[in-house]
Symmetry: C2
Subunit: 374 residues, 2 copies
């Protein structure tokens, strides 16, 4: 626990578990529900911090694992920490490296004390432990850091997930003990896969240790939205009302709605930025694939209802030209748009919670998305 981190619920939604709140961190306040875009390598790909702020982003996520491997957490610490290194003065959350160690590392070998893995960059072997994860995240200096966890696949058996989530609880204890920087909030991570009673056990054991907030992990590992929904539904009742709840790696615009209604306060996902790089744009009327030849001479913006920099200044025809020509500016303009779309959506959801109009807003959201309306 630390004194510079606060979470306050401003309004509870009627007829759902949704809540509108505010997180206070050493780098400022963040209204919740919040969506955090992902700056894997100390940059939201293709954007400057000014672009990111202009899109309305209050807080970003960065990856302990990637920054440990390159350029190294000690180097970043020596240069004044991650905020200064990447020129971002708003809050940052770093993940623990758990998800990446299991999904990206080679030759993983899980032991009680940590995980042996091989760097995909240069083949070096590293032993990742709860203590190392804390060391890395403290060196980076994020406002919120999270416990090191094992993140099993959605196809893992009951027995495997049981042992794994018990190990994650054990590691959570070690993380809490290892953490020494009082300026950083520490979140525990609930695992338990798709098994309701394992989710419950994991949640209760993690809450018992006591953290500033609680993340729900292992819900973006290949399972469908319905399984995610059940995993969240089986976790939320066992989390304290007065702490922020963070659903890791989620999700689509539709999923944001669903999980906010279930009581989630924080999200992160590569979807808006990664899809932008692939030319897939989010709009009020559904998805738009910019390379499609139907946009060849289309003088309209991506979405006439959008007020982002890209929509205010460029036509679909120009964006298609840039994308087809392989121009870097295509990636940047698309990323600005998709990020703005996510931020605008979550702002509107927040307002709808405040005004008790979330059900109407959700209906309107789905109605607008008529097939082939663009």
């Amino acid at each position: 626990m630390n004194s510079k981190f606060k979470f306050k619920i401003i309004k509870k939604g009627k007829g759902s578990r949704a809540r509108r709140g505010r997180i206070t961190t050493p780098h400022g306040e963040v209204d919740t529900p919040v969506f955090m875009p992902v700056g894997t390598q100390a940059t939201i790909k293709s954007l400057t911090p000014e672009d990111v702020k202009e899109a309305g982003v209050a807080m970003i996520l960065s990856n302990a694992y990637h920054l440990f491997l390159r350029p190294g957490h000690k180097l970043i610490e020596q240069l004044g920490g991650l905020h200064r290194f990447m020129n971002w003065d708003r809050p940052i959350l770093t993940d623990s490296g758990g998800f990446q160690v299991f999904s990206l590392g080679k030759l993983n070998k899980i032991e009680q004390g940590g995980v042996l893995f091989q760097s995909p960059i240069n083949g070096e072997k590293h032993f990742f432990t709860p203590e190392l994860s804390m060391e890395i995240q403290q060196a980076l200096g994020a406002d919120i850091i999270v416990c090191f966890d094992e993140c099993p696949s959605c196809t893992a058996t009951y027995d495997y997930v049981k042992r794994s989530s018990e190990l994650t609880v054990r590691w959570a204890n070690m993380c809490k003990e290892a953490k020494t920087n009082d300026n950083q909030a520490l979140f525990g991570i609930v695992q338990g896969g798709i098994y309701p009673n394992l989710r419950k056990q994991s949640a209760m054991a993690t809450v018992k240790i006591g953290f500033d907030g609680y993340a729900i992990g292992g819900v973006s590992v290949g399972e469908g939205t319905e399984m995610k929904y059940l995993a969240v539904d089986n976790t939320i009742p066992f989390l304290p009302e007065d702490c922020p709840r963070y659903l890791m790696g989620v999700g689509t615009p539709e999923e944001l709605f669903e999980f906010i209604l279930q009581g989630i306060d924080m999200f992160d996902c590569v979807m808006p930025t990664r899809n932008a790089r692939n030319g897939m744009l989010f709009t009020s009327f559904g998805k738009l694939v910019i390379k499609n030849s139907r946009y060849k001479s289309d003088d309209r913006p991506i979405d006439v209802e959008c007020h982002c920099y890209t929509c205010r200044n460029y036509s679909r025809a120009y964006l298609r030209h840039l994308f087809i020509a392989g121009e870097i500016l295509a990636i940047r303009l698309n990323t600005i748009h998709n990020l703005y779309y996510y931020m605008d959506l979550i702002n509107k959801i927040r307002m709808a919670i405040e005004n008790d109009t979330i059900a109407e807003f959700q209906n309107k959201f789905y109605e607008q998305k008529l097939p082939n309306s663009c």
Copy 2:
């Protein structure tokens, strides 16, 4: 000739042919000497128009050849012209496609009426003519357009270059006849390779036709600075004093100095932007290769004397990290810096002409570039 284009010499340098002037176009005024960055595919790679303006750019160059092949000049015309298409409201110069037809096209076949070439994008065959070049450049709507020319290699024989530059003069006549848009200025192109009397003949014949300005072509095709210098030196005396002189495809910062002192008013080159993408940065103390391991933990900006956005906000260590990690932002931040360097340099040269201090400024420029000073 057209009435919306003007060129005024404000000050002539003492002891050199340098001049400080101002070009007036339908999209505003441009102080000369001017350096135009290259926006090949209707974008200065990785930058928005706002970035380009912030770097101090008054005028850009775009390529008739590339835009003809993709997305097509008629499409751009239909969408309101190149300025609107790419969201750039300052002056644009388009080149004629001559240089690209010869350097990038496959299976070139030169005839009296034009050149047959094959698109490197899709293999389609096109017959590029002076009339087509005018049609394309008028459709794009640049403020300054240039005649279609043949651009021989620097190893071409005297006889080849003689026939070639006579053909270019013939095409210049055809271009002037074909041009109908009075809002656009038309520049002739002087060829003649490395042969003094062919440069003279080409210059005199081109001036006789009469254009709004004169470009010197064929000087950035593989020859060294000294050959370029001789080619320019053998051309300038035959160009009218009261028209702008544009040296195509040049050059290094050192070359800008040399050729401004010879009386050149306009330059374009991919060097600042292309080198930026390769991690080669221009500084007041020489070139800096950002991937070099010596910058790994270097907290200083690229150049402490530089006031660009990149130098104001990022360390060499961060820029090196982005470059090594293959992040798009590396390209953008490097490009902003290099462009700012070029613009700042040419601004200072302009001021030095105005203040009759160009010799001192040039000495200082070379003195600062001590080897291994960074």
